[in-house]
Homo-oligomer: 345 residues x 2
DNA sequence: TTTTTTTACGCAAACGTTACCACCTAAGTA
DNA sequence: TACTTAGGTGGTAACGTTTGCGTAAAAAAA
């Protein structure tokens, strides 16, 4: 069921030339006379010739395609990241193959294997929440496959990385609540395996420290699936609220955790910020339409995607092995709305 | 910078066999003796041999990859669709290449051209809002490239299509408002070029008709970019509210339009449903956390994606040309919350 | 034993393209 | 005039794989 494509041979036959001449004419080689070039170009145009990318890939041993591994595509942050990746890829004529780990380690291993066996020229990875062993990544990297890590970084892999300033984001969020009079501030974090989790948690702790508020370990919960499983969030909030001394405010350290928390509050009939204040990480476009409007930390997802792809291309297209790697940190945006305001009563 | 892969030749050399023997052994041909097979298999395992997919593609003239063209990936509906597509593709060992039209006709043409020149085995398309001429699609289709259309259908192309029951969704949404006592109900629609727009508008009109409410053309606005540009939504709402006889309720006929409308209401300080009731299409996971909780029509996006991919595979893998095409219509979900409730005053 | 069949493998072409090398012709140089 | 040089072109191998055909040796049939 595939249509027959016009090849260089067809042109050669039509013009009574050899394939090599046609090939050179098409690539505008200096060895070919202007008249022949013109003839070939016209014929190619007429027959609607398109070079076969598969044959080219085989010859040049590169596919002009890259792979992306993320946990979930149906997540604003990651879809915006992919948007950024795609914008650069499009400009440079690269194809983007996307695969999702669904936060599963096994699936991530399979994804990486699939992509590399498919011959992609490089891979962009943000590790899954389950991933604590990074050998599947470092193995490929050691073999020479260009890899760039973004957002959720795998430690011990010496390559370019792009993250947003997680520490700063969490610090600002926490400080905002403190400035608005809250002292009992809980933190709901993604899995402790994730780099982002620790960076953000450190920001939270540092903000408390800087304001002489003692860190209460009961106020810190790691949600293993980072909000992908709603019940996990519900349970965490429940745990917070049944403490003898429940928090008055909460910082939610990922998009899904933020959304899940808001949903839980609503279900429990808790008013924000009167019953509980919240400031969270989120890249959803819903900040304004929640009840009340959400004060949030927004990561520069699109820019992160662009930067990741640019660095990956740099790796791919470099003639000589690169040994100096960049760790790029982009600044998040802090958007103040109402969910972190001082309570009224 | 690419790592050297193990080829069939390496195995042949290591074992003192010919490449054809190795190839046949790997494919478990009857011509090869069990001992040789075992030897080859072991050697392949040891050297970590992976067949080169590019070479295979060249030989078999298929790439085991498919293309997807959507307007935007950062849109819940489409990211859920892609999720469905990917789940089937993954099972069948297909690669998914995603490209976005960003609602631009020119970009859509380029995307299709790029994907087909990249040799994908088939393409899944949901047309952009700007697209009113479908030749770029039918041309490829006529050449024999398998194409399946989903959600936003291009008329005049004889192939499989998957949509949700847009008429029914809009009908139910409108009827819900009518049952709750509203008579002045406006409709905010996507571009009139889009198939979904007309189907949904028809559902809206039919619900009004069935309840003896006269259709008021001032109550119908088509938003060309379907909410991708926020100002367009703002303007439309503005236009509604400055009518001599403004609507009391509104049905928003796409995800972005729904979210945009809610945002506009909030900015204008309009209370839902007291100042205006709203029921809209949406696949966002925010229904519960808006103010008030949103009554909505949810399309079975994941299932639509799955169905699309399944039908495309059927086209791709069929031995003989298919002339009988399926038009699959999936039922949307109607979720009643509070935004369409009778007003209190 | 001789002939036929079967088994098990190798050779080479093909997929579409590029690149190295070789070749021929005509013009320039000695 | 003879020789070199440059310009323009063709032949062919190679990328990794599959596959039709050929064939030697072994097994079966005569």
């Amino acid at each position: 069921m595939k249509f027959e494509a016009v090849t260089i041979k067809d042109i050669a036959k039509a013009l009574g030339l050899s394939t090599s001449t046609v090939s050179r004419a098409l690539r505008d080689s200096y060895e070919i006379s202007p008249e022949t070039k013109k003839l070939v170009l016209e014929c190619a145009e007429k027959l609607n010739y398109r070079p076969n990318p598969v044959a080219l890939s085989l010859k040049e041993r590169k596919t002009r395609s890259i792979g992306v591994v993320v946990c979930e595509i149906a997540n604003s942050f990651f879809s915006q990241i992919i948007n950024g990746i795609e914008s650069v890829a499009y400009d440079k004529g690269y194809n983007v193959m996307i695969s999702q780990s669904h936060e599963s380690y096994d699936r991530e291993v399979l994804d990486l294997q699939f992509l590399s066996s498919r011959g992609v020229d490089g891979i962009l990875v943000s590790v899954s929440t389950e991933t604590s062993d990074f050998e599947h990544i470092s193995n490929l990297h050691d073999k020479g496959l260009p890899i760039v890590l973004f957002d959720r970084i795998a430690p011990g892999i010496n390559t370019h990385t792009i993250i947003s300033d997680n520490f700063k984001g969490a610090y600002e969020a926490t400080e905002h609540l403190i400035h608005n009079g809250y002292k009992k501030i809980a933190a709901l974090c993604p899995s402790e395996f994730l780099s982002i989790s620790n960076e953000r948690l450190a920001g939270y702790k540092e903000a408390l420290n800087a304001n002489d508020i003692k860190i209460n370990n009961n106020y810190i919960i790691h949600s293993f699936y980072g909000g992908m499983v709603f019940s996990e969030v519900e349970e965490a909030i429940n745990q917070f609220m049944t403490l003898k001394d429940p928090p008055e405010a909460i910082v939610t350290l990922s998009d899904k955790l933020t959304l899940g928390s808001l949903k839980t509050f609503k279900r429990r009939g808790m008013k924000v910020p009167d019953d509980i204040a919240i400031v969270g990480f989120s890249n959803s476009d819903i900040a304004e339409i929640t009840d009340p409007a959400l004060t949030l930390v927004r990561q520069p997802a699109f820019e992160m995607g662009k930067a990741s792809m640019e660095l990956l291309l740099q790796l791919i297209e470099s003639k000589r092995p690169i040994t100096e790697f960049e760790k790029r940190v982009l600044s998040p945006e802090f958007i103040v709305m109402h969910s972190g305001l001082p309570r009224k009563r």
